[in-house]
Symmetry: C2
């Protein structure tokens, strides 16, 4: 039976849960994507969500191994799995798996995150992106160099042979969502369509080094004033703000990279879903980077690789 | 009757509504403060709130003039009152008053805001703070020079003889509230007490010019990681984030001022409520500014002055 489930693999992050049923040959036999990230699980009852989502795939005579990566292993998740330190690769992550008992029977393995301490003494952490970097490496992509994983918390990662050596977090996606949903900036926005010209305009303003434009706390307000004065229509303000924040992230990240490294790499790999990868690809190419893009197959490949290295899957 | 109401004056902003009953001698005979800022008015029914809050003071044989300043005059408010341009002072604001009919009878006058266009071509706007600057000037304070009005949207304003000549907006207060209430940073916070040491630490990190710390989108994440690694207790994380954002605002504002002016003034006046004024006063004094502080009497004084200049009050 080629479609027998050999592994259930999950990307369980802050805002969403994506689960994959993996066949014996490592291919994806089925998948589901739900808005049940760890901050959205009702009453924090992860076990209930587990039973609902994974239950139908678990209902077999043979126990199926389950592995998850992402914020599900954080302090706000189901089980806090201690961070590894850098550099770490597939062997270290397999050895560091956490295991949580489930009401449905069996355990779910959780990939540990990784932490680094910056030269400025402030720690940084990631969970989930380590698995994507490992998967991309196995696909022959992002083998070494700079990797950008956009999302709720964007990560800029330096990898060597599939091992993570340095990274920095930018709260771009979460700040964007909060401003659209809850701030006065959202009040002038109309719809959630995309406007390429407004995105480019926001990008330019966000990454500008003109000191007369001050910094982000000031520039954000332009997403209100340009709407008030009809310089940008309400239908395009969301794209403008997206560009503004991604531009600010690129400016911040290249500043940090310049300080951390001798220079900034000229090429990079973006790992992520289609919409975000396209937005960041456009933005980063416009900033002069040579860009390679990898999709969700990186996460799946990484989860399978770690499961195999841990002996969960033959 | 010394407590006869000669004017009802209101500071009707984004997050709160403060209303004052003014006696004939200009003194405050009564006041009320409610969490009914324009973004919190149920169904946007400003008239209903007006009737509930001002109605008891309006129920007299003599019609009482009513004047309001703040975001109530914005596009998201009750009536959009066109912005004036800079420089503008009490005469221009009195001449530019908008008037909205109310179901309770009579009209409410609304002070116009003011707009400037930055050297970078991006417009900026304020509403409400013009009235505070006028009031402070009449009190013999903030006559000329740099004025900081912290709040949901902090304003850094240059004034000359009670007239506003330049300003810049920073979305500090709104971003802080959103991050505390809705982001993952709030998940590690415990209580809303104040911690002076954590505030200072956040302030230093927020205003640091160390390029290894990148910029705000990255630094915000330190309010999570320093909590995760028990470097700052959950009870102090809110103060840390407050300091971080105020520090970022000060760094941004002084950058903008340096670019706009020949130099940065060495003294400034803070106008606002006690808690915010104290936090900003501590922060700005720590950054080397000589600081003067003015409270809500600035708003009341400004509203009375504009009402008198417009002939609403004898």
């Amino acid at each position: 039976m080629t479609d027998a489930t050999s592994l259930i693999a999950a990307d369980w992050g802050t805002t969403s849960l994506r689960a994959y049923r993996i066949a014996g040959d490592g291919s994806v036999a089925g998948s589901v994507s739900l808005p049940l990230g760890i901050l959205k699980v009702p009453d924090g009852d992860f076990d209930a969500v587990y039973g609902q989502v994974f239950g139908p795939w678990l209902d077999r005579a043979d126990p199926v191994p389950v592995i998850a990566a992402g914020m599900i292993g954080s302090r706000q998740g189901w089980l806090e799995v201690p961070y590894l330190s850098a550099p770490s690769g597939v062997a270290e992550f397999a050895a560091g798996l956490g295991r949580v008992r489930t009401a449905a029977g069996g355990a779910m393995a959780i990939v540990p995150g990784i932490s680094v301490t910056g030269d400025d003494g402030v720690p940084d952490v990631l969970r989930g992106e380590e698995t994507q970097v490992i998967g991309a490496h196995l696909l022959g992509r992002a083998a070494s160099g700079l990797v950008v994983v956009p999302g709720t918390h964007s990560k800029w990662i330096l990898a060597e042979d599939g091992r993570i050596t340095w990274f920095a977090t930018f709260m771009t996606g979460e700040v964007f969502a909060l401003l659209c949903q809850h701030s006065i900036l959202g009040r002038l926005m109309r719809g959630d369509g995309e406007d390429a010209e407004a995105f480019r305009r926001g990008l330019a303003h966000g990454r500008s080094d003109d000191p007369r434009s001050a910094g982000l706390l000031h520039r954000l307000f332009s997403a209100r004033t340009l709407g008030l004065f009809d310089r940008i229509p309400g239908e395009a303000l969301r794209s403008y703000l997206s560009g503004l924040l991604i531009g600010a992230e690129i400016a911040e990240a290249t500043t940090a990279l310049s300080a951390w490294l001798d220079g900034i790499p000229s090429s990079l790999t973006i790992i992520g879903g289609a919409a975000l990868t396209e937005a960041y690809g456009t933005a980063l190419a416009g900033c002069g980077f040579s860009v390679d893009e990898v999709g969700e197959e990186a996460m799946v490949g990484g989860l399978v690789a770690i499961a195999k290295a841990a002996g969960l899957m033959g």
